[in-house]
């Protein structure tokens, strides 16, 4: 499982780094920073939940 973030869409709600801090961090402005590109198998559920809860639909999963 791979993650992508569309930074043009990200508005800094911070749901992703609240829900899955192992996968997402925040930059200086509170926007999303990917901490990993490939999600470890143990965290795929959490990755999905983070993507699902992004109000801007900025997180993509492949």
């Amino acid at each position: 499982m791979k993650l992508r973030v569309d930074l043009d869409l990200c508005a800094g709600h911070g749901r992703c780094y609240e829900i899955a801090p192992e996968l997402f961090g925040e930059d200086e402005a509170g926007h999303c920073v990917l901490l990993v590109e490939t999600v470890p198998p143990a965290l795929t559920d959490r990755a999905r939940r983070a993507a699902d809860n992004c109000p801007e639909s900025a997180i993509g999963i492949e």
């Binding site: 709600h13 925040e26 109000p55």
Partner: protein, 400 residues
Amino acid sequence: MSVDAFDAEAGTINVVAPEFTLRPHATMLEMVERCPVARIQYTDWPVLSRYEDVAWALRHPEIFSSDLGELLALGNVRPMIPQQIDPPLQTRYRKILDSQFTKKAVNRIEPALREHARNLIAAVLDAGECEFDSAFAIPLPCKAFLEFMGLPVEEMDHFLALKNGVIRPDAHPADLARCTELRAETGRQIYAYFEDLIDQRTRAPREDLMTYLVQVELEGRRLSREEILDICYLFLLGGLDTVTATLGCNIAYLAENAEQRRRISQDSGCVEAVVEELLRWQTPVTLLPRVLKQPVDLRGVHMAAGQVVNLMISAADLDAAEFPRAGEVDFDRDRNRHLAFGLGPHRCLGSHLARLEVRVGLEEWHRLIPDYAIKPGEIPRVSPGIREFQYLPLVWPGVA
């Protein structure tokens, strides 16, 4: 029931009707389903209530502009920054402001916030009852805000007077002229207060948000005095009332729903989810105004350029197309993309601060007062627009 506030035949909604402000859910659920573009009674402004429509409008500021001009003056003489201006200029201001409101940046006030909460609760605990708004919901965010801005906590009463003078001027709401006059008068006091602070921090910089605003550079230049004032004006209005309203909305719900309330005391890890779900359920800031830059046809309704449109985020948060079992409160939702803080470029700048205040408020309250109810025989009073429980009498069992 509250269904009366919505006239399905005429497609109008009376958002100030007391039965609607107190129990709006049935009405809003009906609106979302039957009348996605209704009209506000009295002003006749169209009001959008479906999640999809509201989210689309929030993402298209070039059509749904926040530049409302004179239409919604709150005693300010220039647009408030960044709320009443559109991208791309708005985005430039957000670039310098966002860094001050990140989760990391707001977390530093948590210890002080917790202590304030404990003191407020200690003051009422033994009495076994309180009026929640004045005892807790108003003072907690106010102290947090002063702390966050780097302003003296002793000035709290003055701050509250300034905020109330603008939001709820001391005159009959129908007497528009008098209300406008009072708002303008308070507005002048707010400008004067922050003018003085700008001077103080220019002379003697400190480590606080006020000093940051005085020193920060926007594309190679300092902010002008007016820009700083227009930002502070919005902080004052945006940072106090909204959190007060959210705390009251949450406690009012939990007071009447014992089973849900018990979850908080039993499982401290669930408070974050409780905060999110109650933000969805209560969406305390209910209506976001926009003005159309071009004509829009939506669900068979034509809206002309220049028309003011209301986005009813509180109704959109009950849309079953986005939220399965939208009419139920469920702390275990897998997906909760509520609109309580808006969406897109104007996403609430203070959302991380607000979440912290509400979470700490709920945690501390339930630690000491896990069981409480609305005082028997009393009916709470809720303001329209921003749903503040202005009268919320609570009782709880005495402590041994």
